[in-house]
Each structure stands twice: as C-alpha cells, then as structure tokens.
Amino acid sequence: MGPDSAPDPPVPWRKVLWERQPFPDNYVDGRFLEELRRNEGLRQYHYWAVVKEAGSVGQQLSCVAIFITVWLYMEQGLLSPEVLLLTSLVCAMLGYGLHQVLASTVDSGDEPRTRLADLQSAAIFLSFTYGFSPVLKTLTESVSTDTVYAMSAVMLLAHLIFFPYTQPSPPGSLSLNAALFASVCLASRLPGALHTFAMLSCALLVFALWPCLLQRLREKAPSQFTGVCVGMCIGGIGGLGSQSLVGAVLLALALGNVTFFCPLLLITLQRQKDNIQGPWDEAEIHEDLSHFIQ
C-alpha cells in the first residue's frame, strides 16, 4: 500500500479510492492525466477578420483626429462657426435619414422611438447648449491654457481607452463623458460663444451620434462598414496632414500599428497559449438561477 511496495499488476488499476488495490500509493498508471484537456474552446482567429474588427478601433482614433482638426481650424479662424453649424446640421440630417433607413430594414423587437421624441431631445440639447455656451466659454478662464490642453489630451485618451468597441451603441458613459469634458475644455479656448456652441454640437455629433450610426451600419451592411472605416482613417490622416505633417505621420503609424501589427501579434501569441482544463476545475453554474428568488 505504501510507496514502493512490490507491485504485481494482474488486475487493472482503477481510479477509485474505496477499493484497496494492489498498487503502491505513488503508483502512476498509463491513464494518469488522461482527462486533461488543453486549450478547450479556443478561438481560432483569421488575420483579415481581426484586421477588420480592429478597423473600428482605428476608426475611433481617426474620429478623435478629425475632431481635433476641426478645432484647430476653428481656433485659427479658418473655419467660421456658422459654416461648421451648417455642415453639422446637414451631416446630422443625412445621418439621421440613414439611421432610419437602416432601422426600417429589420424591425427590432422593442418599441422604436418616435421622430417627435428624437426632435424633442435634439431641441432640448441645442437650446441648453446655446443658452449655456457663454457660461461654458468662461468656465475655464481661470485655468491656464497648458492645463486645459493637458486635461483634454488625457480625457481624449481616456475616451479611446474606455470606448466600448464591441458594443458602441449606446456609447459608454465613461468614454462619452471623457470626450465631452475634453470638448468643453477645448471649446472654451475658442474666440466666441458661438464658436463654443458650434464646437460642442460637433462633439456631440462625432462622439455620441456617429458611433450609433456606425454600429447600425456594421450590423446591417458589414461591407460598407469596412469602407466607412477606411474612409474615416484617410479623412483623419488627411485632415491632420493639412495642419501638421508630423501629426499625420504619427496618426498613420498609430493606425497601422493598431489595425495591422496588433492583430498579427495576437495571432502569433495565440499559438503560445496553453490552457489546462480537467476534472479538478471548479464547475460553473451556467443556468440563470435568479428567477428562483425573485
């Protein structure tokens, strides 16, 4: 029974404890670890599929770049707030139309929002932003410009980090708040109250409404989604390039890194994965038991 006592194996070993078996305690059978399973339920990634998925990250990065470009133009006075507001309005109308078209193709189960409700929220937002834009304009006057820029940079970074890339509609509250905070900071450094209003409307368009439309697009028309992503990336690089060449190069590098290099890294590292499962794992409760107690 003890380790190393003489084995005579005419009977096969069984993995049971209740039977006294003629094997030493430290006996190792050929069936040792036969229930070991490796890398069960492992997802096999295909490079181009991952690149496509990573496109949404690159796209979001470009959105931020485009927003900064618009702000740069505004700050230098190359873009008047009226033009920006008009463009925003046109884009919003087009986007809304597209959103409605995509929604109508497949009717979702839950109650759709009425046009009136949409119009109402838009009106409330616009009037409040317009009313408060002089306040927002002077909000950060006592803070030094460097601090404001640093804060905006950090907040935009936070927006990118916490953005819910898998489910961007509705946009995550943390990332959306970070982005709006950054835009308020940046908008307050513009010359006039109307500038601030235009900038904030633009921010809402880019950070809140655009991801919703994009998500719809991704669900309904995946092929166009890729095209839109590529378009956004090119737009971002182009826009930034018109202001700062270094910025454009850095953005292009970042985009290349995120969309092409990182997926490659994921797939290479995937081969190193060694996940062990077996009967010793804690069983998981898959079913939903909450209905028993509620």
Binding site: G2, D4, V16, L17, N275, W280, E282
Partner: protein
C-alpha cells in the same frame, strides 16, 4: 509519462527486494519525530484541522513522536498539550487573511528552528497549500537539512491570476520537497500539474472518517415524509445556488419532501429568500452552524444526503452521510466519483436539472422501498476509510522520506533555478541563500547545543503515561 513512471517504479522495487529483509525490518521499526505544520488547527474547525489532529493521534498510537506547529489564535499562544501528549506550538505570528499568516520568507525561521531543534524533528509534514506557514516551514526545513512531506487538501484551477501566483509559489516550495500526499487521484493530477512534479513522488492517501461516530439510527427518521439532508458551509463553492434552485422545484412536485440544512455562510440569504418566496418555512429547516458532535444527530434524521459542491478534492461529507446509512446524491466534480462505489452514490451533473433528476430517481426508489437498509450501507462504508489505515500509509511515506538525501545548498540553488523558471527560480535561489545566512546567524547567536531538548510527551520515550517523569501542566503563557 505513465510508462516511464512504471519503469522507474519497478527498478526501485527490485532494488529493495535485493537489499534484503534485514533493512526492511529496520525500516519498520524506525520511529519518527514528526512535526506537522499548518496555519489551520484547533480552535479553527474544518477538514484540514481534523485531518491533522486525527492523523497525529494515530501516529502517536503507533509510537511516533508528533508535535504540531500553528499560529496563535487570539489568547491561545505558547505551548499546549492535547490528548495523549500531542504537543501544539501556537507561534505568535501575524495573521493576514482567512487565518493564513503573513509570509516574509524569513521571520518565522527563529521560532521554527527552535521547535525543530528542541524536538529533534526528523520529518516536517506541512499541510494545505492555503497555509503560508506550511510553505515557510517547507522552505526553512530544507535550509536546516530536514526531509519534508506535504499534504495537499484542495483543488486549484489554472485560469485566474490568483491561482497562477499560488501555483508558482507551490512550484517553488515543492521543488525540493521529498514527498507529496494528495487525498484523491484527481487531486494528485492537479498537484502534479500545478507544481510541475514528478508523479512518482506523489502518493494518494485518502482522508478518513471516524465511522464509529457516524452510525445509523433509522428510528430518528419520520417515515411519513422523505427528508433530504444537506450539511455544508453555505458558500458559493459548495453550490448553494444550485440548492436554491432544487428546493422549490422538488418541493412543488413532492408534498411530502422536507429539507434539513446544516451550516452557516453568506449564501444562507439565498436559501432564506427561496423559503420566503415559496412559503416553505415548515418544510425547509435551516439549522445554522453545527458542532461536530451534532452532525450525526442531524444526519440520521434524513433519508437522502445531498451534496451540491462545485469543486471538492475528496469530500468527507458524503462518506459521513453514507456511514449514517443515507442514500447519497452528489455532483460529479473533482475527486467525488472516486470516493464511493457506484451503487452507494448517485452522481449528477452540476446543474439543477440533472440534480433534480437524480434526486427524483432516489426518491422513487425510497418510496418503493428498493433501497438497502441503513445498517447494510453502514457495514459497507465503515471500513473503507479509517484513520489507522491512513496512518499506516503515511508512515510508509515517512519511512521512504527519511532515507533520502537532503540537497546541499549549491545543489538546491541549481534545482530551484532549473525547475522554477529563470526569474522566480533566481529570486528564490537568492532567498534560499539569505535564509541560509540567517540560519547561520541564528546558530551563532543561540547554538543548537545550548537549546534545551524538549521533554518527550509522546513517542518511543514518551513521558505522558510515566508518573516518574517530571510533571507538567498544559497551561502556558508567553512571558
């Protein structure tokens, strides 16, 4: 792996045969001075604690000397004696979390060295991978050149970050441990994988159950009803959420079904809510925490014992249930399928549907009277797991271990570095060197020869039953 293992085993066996019977006889007469180390001991209650206590008692009965080292529990610190002169050192070490001590790798060395020297310990036997003191003692014992044994009582996954870290720690402390004891074959597979061990040095010695404490008494049952007994801590790992799903499902179907639930824990809320929602106050009784002596009195009131654990290395509860003559229904996880023969246990998948189906089958059998009598079940179970058997098998592990050579420091460093990876291995090789230097310092401060040898209470020259020996009291305090 198995093939290679068997070859080595056979060569070992043949060597032993050729070395003749005289050495064998010597081996069996050899008495050991064993030091059990674990953070978990009385007054804490649980599986590890009772394992250490009962194993020690059986080893003392066999003539070995056993001392236990644990950390202090509240005012209980210093040296205490238990039944049969079992000496317990409650060392004043800081408790960090869940009764496990803080580990700095060094600070426990002076006191542990003192214990090991004055008790003339030959084998250090550490218990439970959750115990930091056990890991420390394995490390220090190797520094002091003693042979070590480790018993693993629990299963661990490989997925989350905490288990990755604990497994690394286990790899390091077990890398030069002479022998490891696991409580089931599943637990052995788990430990071998976790600590990257050679399976040859891992023995499987199951836990035991004091079957005389768990005798059936059918007169305590209510014959007009069927009672399902559950005795476990009410925590997630014991599958109490599943139990919360089973209770309403079965109670609605069978109006004569009662549940008797013993144990305490955070998941008690779930059961209380279920009871509230389905108005089952008269049919589901929550008994709260049970003392060990009351467990049997609760068990004998039931017809069916239910275990819903999600993970379990051995599961003494189902053996206790079967020993009391109950039909056992259990989830099929960890080492549970190894514990009882197929006809004494109904194994189910860990989900509500499967457990309900299993229970219904047993209830139907119980109704039709097609179940063996409690006495016949008890008779089959009572000799399956005895502490005496555990002690005999553990003794063989000690016999094997004391003959082994302890690696000198340079070999130990080499082994740490080759076995535990370049980073962790190098760090712990450095720690091993520091530990050795610290030991030298302690040996210079208080040399071994001026340390008083402890008076043996148990063991071959035990004083416990000798009136002529000096009289000593169990009370002790830290001065």
């Amino acid at each position: 792996m198995g093939q290679r293992g068997r070859a080595v085993l056979q060569s070992n066996a043949s060597q032993q045969e050729s070395s003749g019977t005289s050495q064998d006889a010597l081996k069996h007469n050899r008495k050991h001075n064993i030091c059990m180390v674990s953070d978990f001991f009385y007054p804490n209650m649980g599986g590890v604690e009772s394992h250490i206590y009962l194993l020690s008692q059986c080893l003392i009965e066999k003539g070995h000397k056993v001392v236990i080292v644990t950390h202090s529990y509240g005012k209980r610190k210093g040296v205490r004696y238990l039944t049969n002169g079992l000496k317990v050192y409650y060392l004043p070490l800081q408790v960090m979390y869940n009764q496990s001590t803080v580990t700095t790798c060094f600070h426990s060395l002076p006191l542990l060295r003192c214990v090991l020297v004055r008790e003339r310990i030959t084998v250090v036997h550490a218990h439970s991978s959750f115990s930091a003191l056990a890991h420390d003692s394995l490390f220090h014992a190797k520094t002091m050149g003693l042979n070590t044994v480790f018993t693993d009582h629990s299963l661990f996954g490989f997925a989350d970050i905490s288990s990755v870290l604990t497994n690394k720690l286990l790899t390091i402390t077990l890398c030069d441990t002479n022998h490891i004891v696991c409580v089931s074959y599943t637990s052995k597979e788990n430990t071998v994988l976790r600590a990257a061990l050679n399976p040859e040095i891992v023995s499987v010695i199951p836990n035991a159950v004091e079957s005389t404490d768990f005798t059936p008494d059918p007169s305590q049952r209510r014959d007009d009803r069927i009672t399902i007994v559950v005795i476990s801590r009410l925590v997630y790992r014991k599958g109490i959420d599943l139990l919360g799903g089973i209770i309403p499902e079965l109670c609605l179907k069978h109006p004569d079904l009662n549940f008797l639930i013993g144990g305490e824990g955070p998941k008690r809320l779930v059961l209380e809510e279920v009871r509230e929602k389905y108005q089952l106050h008269d049919r589901v009784r929550l008994l709260g925490a049970l003392e060990h002596k009351d467990v049997r009195n609760v068990l004998v009131q039931g017809h069916i014992f239910l275990n819903t654990s999600l993970t379990e290395a051995f599961c003494m509860a189902i053996v206790e249930g079967a020993s009391c003559g109950l039909q056992v229904v259990s989830t099929c996880v960890g080492g549970i399928p190894e514990v009882l023969p197929e006809d004494l246990i109904t194994l189910c998948e860990p989900n509500v549907r499967s457990l309900c189906a299993g229970l219904e089958k047993v209830i139907a059998r119980q109704r039709s009277g097609a179940v063996p009598t409690p006495a016949s079940i008890h008779a089959r179970v009572k000799n399956l797991y005895t502490w005496r058997n555990v002690a005999e098998r553990t003794e063989k592990v000690y016999d094997r271990v004391v003959g082994e050579e302890v690696l000198p420091l340079h070999m130990r460093i080499q082994r740490l570095r080759s076995h535990c990876g370049p980073v962790a291995g190098s760090i712990f090789a450095f720690v091993a060197v520091l530990d050795f230097l610290f030991l030298l310092l302690l040996q210079w401060l208080v040399p071994d020869q001026i340390m008083d040898l402890a008076v043996d209470a148990s063991g071959p020259f035990g004083m416990w039953n000798q009136e002529s020996g000096i009289k000593k009291r169990t009370s002790s305090q830290k001065s």
